[in-house]
């Protein structure tokens, strides 16, 4: 900048530092919305408790093929997958739509805050909530529902990359999808059904192998099915792979589909992201 403008002699704050500033604000705001905190952390646990209580008597799997586990263990991978989708995709799509509607984004756009720092704050919040939520879910499953957690490090490695890639894909999809609701008020109504339909068709609430073939095919287009399948490969006994429609855990395909969604949503998100409401042009 020219030397005639004294206020700009100081260097602009770096994007990394500002991402941390934003992350601090996001976390603080999140923790102050107690109702949302309770809902996000309790929802997968409550769902698991309900389903395990209702279907607890019926083991999942096929006695004929000798592959059976109790319901809570079968249900856990789907709940982890849905938790990842809720904290990344659903939370972000709604939060950004609301912030666009109420003028937060417009105001930030009027400051020298780089866009990457705004998203950096969101990413930190998403990772933090996803981690805490999954940790609580695993603890409750192990302690209250006697689910045997894997001990093989290879499985935890699979868990790590499915979790991270799933969270990243959900985050980017959430940012891209935030432009779909026309207003902050309609955001919840637009985003929630998408998540619900995916949950029912992706092997979260119903065992995936019991769904009709066409529904399995349709769900295979979307990330949630693959995150759930990846989590099943971590938490279910190896022999249960025979219940997968493909007969394999398909780790390669899982990674490919998630990366494809990540890249596609990134391209769409960058092109369609708006800092202002639609009615502001």
């Amino acid at each position: 900048m020219s030397a005639t403008t004294p206020t700009t002699d100081a260097p602009l704050p770096g994007a990394g530092r500002l991402s941390l500033v934003r992350a601090g604000l996001e976390l603080r705001q999140f923790l102050r919305e107690r109702d949302a905190v309770i809902f996000i952390f309790a929802y997968p646990i409550v769902m698991m408790a309900i389903f395990s209580t209702v279907f607890g008597a019926a083991d999942q799997g096929s006695a004929a093929q000798g592959v059976e586990v109790d319901f809570a263990r079968y249900f856990l991978p789907g709940m982890i997958a849905t938790g990842v989708m809720l904290t990344s995709f659903q939370s972000l799509a709604i939060a950004i739509a609301v912030e666009r509607d109420d003028g937060t984004l417009r105001r930030l756009r009027g400051t020298p805050l780089p866009a990457v720092a705004y998203f950096g704050g969101k990413v930190v919040l998403t990772i933090a909530t996803s981690l805490v939520q999954t940790a609580i879910l695993l603890a409750v499953a192990a302690l209250a529902f006697d689910v045997a957690l894997p001990t093989d490090p290879g499985r935890w490695l699979t868990f790590a990359w499915v979790f991270l890639l799933g969270t990243a894909t959900g985050t980017v999809c959430g940012v891209a999808f935030s432009s779909v609701p026309r207003s902050g008020r309609s955001a919840t109504a637009v985003v929630t059904p998408v998540v619900l339909i995916l949950q029912f068709t992706s092997g979260v609430f119903f065992a995936f192998y019991m769904l009709p073939a066409w529904m399995q095919t349709a769900a295979s287009v979307f990330p949630l099915k693959w995150i759930a399948q990846g989590m099943r490969s971590v938490f279910l006994p190896e022999e249960m792979v025979v219940l997968e429609p493909s007969g394999s855990w398909q780790h390669g395909a899982t990674a490919a589909v998630l990366v494809a969604w990540l890249v596609a949503a990134l391209v769409v998100g960058v092109r369609t992201f708006r800092w202002r409401r639609r009615d502001e042009g």
Binding site: S2, T5, L12, R28, Q29, T104, R106, R109, G110, T111
Partner: protein, 304 residues
């Protein structure tokens, strides 16, 4: 876009240093579908000036300001804000402007102090956040959550967030909406203080009293163009500024426009005064900015 935007060549930077204009707009055009919102608008704002842009709703004020803020693209025209084209603005440019927009209703769970302090960190050389909070009169509310603020307090927070980066150019869009008279007066003091420290201010307002008190210059926009520009005291045609003397004589009310009201009153005292020496219902009225503005705007309307 049909704009010409030379890069920041050394010659250009030298030109910036010598120019005393914070804002320079020539031939600005913006169309929304069939509606020509801005239709050949020219505007100059000198550094350190407070300029009020007035005009009826739909006159093109907001569109123009949003183009200057870099929020909206233009169809045609040359726009320089602090020596740069806002359509290609970077972070360094954003650090030099401040925006207080209308209609911000974000309901953050943060406190006033947290909002102002975090916003200050986005800027390279911000003001002291606590001083800014005190300057807008929110010191007592510094630890209150934003969502609990009243409309006027909320507006003052908007102003605090707009000025905490110590901008060279500040955009104020109807800043005192929802202020009580006392808060409005103290806000005017704050704005004058900013101007005295060298900040250029572009104010859009419907409050003509505010424009008259604050602005060094008033610009009236109508139909997407500037129809009048001048100091609050000289705006409008000379006859619009002429005082009106009114009185009652013989049970009939009379009035006369005159540039010499004192002479007229002296004449009346001699000829039209009652037995007690008083002129009945005597009033000398100097047209206010509001009178001049309304005349300008309605005058334009009849022209169309």
């Amino acid at each position: 876009m049909v704009t010409t935007t030379p890069g920041r060549t050394p010659a250009r930077r030298a030109a910036d240093a010598t120019t005393e204009l914070a804002v320079r707009v020539r031939g600005l055009h913006k169309r929304y579908g069939e509606k020509q919102a801005v239709d050949g608008l020219d505007l100059d704002i000198g550094r350190g000036e407070i300029v009020a842009v007035l005009g009826p709703n739909g006159a093109g004020k907001t569109t123009t300001v949003e183009i200057l803020e870099g929020f909206r693209e233009r169809d045609a025209g040359d726009v320089q804000v602090l020596g740069e084209d806002p359509a290609h603005a970077d972070r360094a440019w954003r650090a030099r402007i401040g925006v207080v927009a209308q209609d911000s209703r974000d309901r953050a769970e943060l406190t006033v102090a947290e909002e102002v302090r975090s916003t200050a960190r986005y800027y390279p050389a911000p003001a002291d956040p606590d001083e800014v909070i005190a300057a807008v009169g929110l010191a007592e509310k510094a630890r209150a959550r934003v969502r609990g603020l009243s409309g006027g307090q909320r507006r003052r927070l908007d102003v605090a967030l707009g000025i905490v980066g110590r901008p060279e150019l500040l955009f104020l869009d109807e800043p005192t909406t929802g202020f009580d008279p006392q808060a409005r007066r103290s806000f005017w003091g704050l704005v004058r203080g900013l101007r005295d420290s060298g900040t250029t201010i572009l104010l859009t307002t419907h409050d003509l009293d505010e424009a008259a008190h604050l602005a060094d210059r008033v610009v009236v926009v109508r139909g997407g163009r500037v129809v009048a520009s001048g100091t609050p005291d000289t705006l409008g045609r000379p006859e619009a500024r002429t005082p009106v003397v009114s009185w009652t004589a013989g049970g009939e009310s009379r009035s006369e426009r005159t540039t010499a009201p004192t002479a007229l009153v002296a004449r009346l005292a001699a000829t039209a005064a009652g037995p007690d020496g008083e002129i009945a219902d005597l009033r000398v009225v100097r047209p206010t900015l509001e009178d001049v503005y309304l005349e300008l705007v309605s005058h334009e309307e009849t022209d169309r």
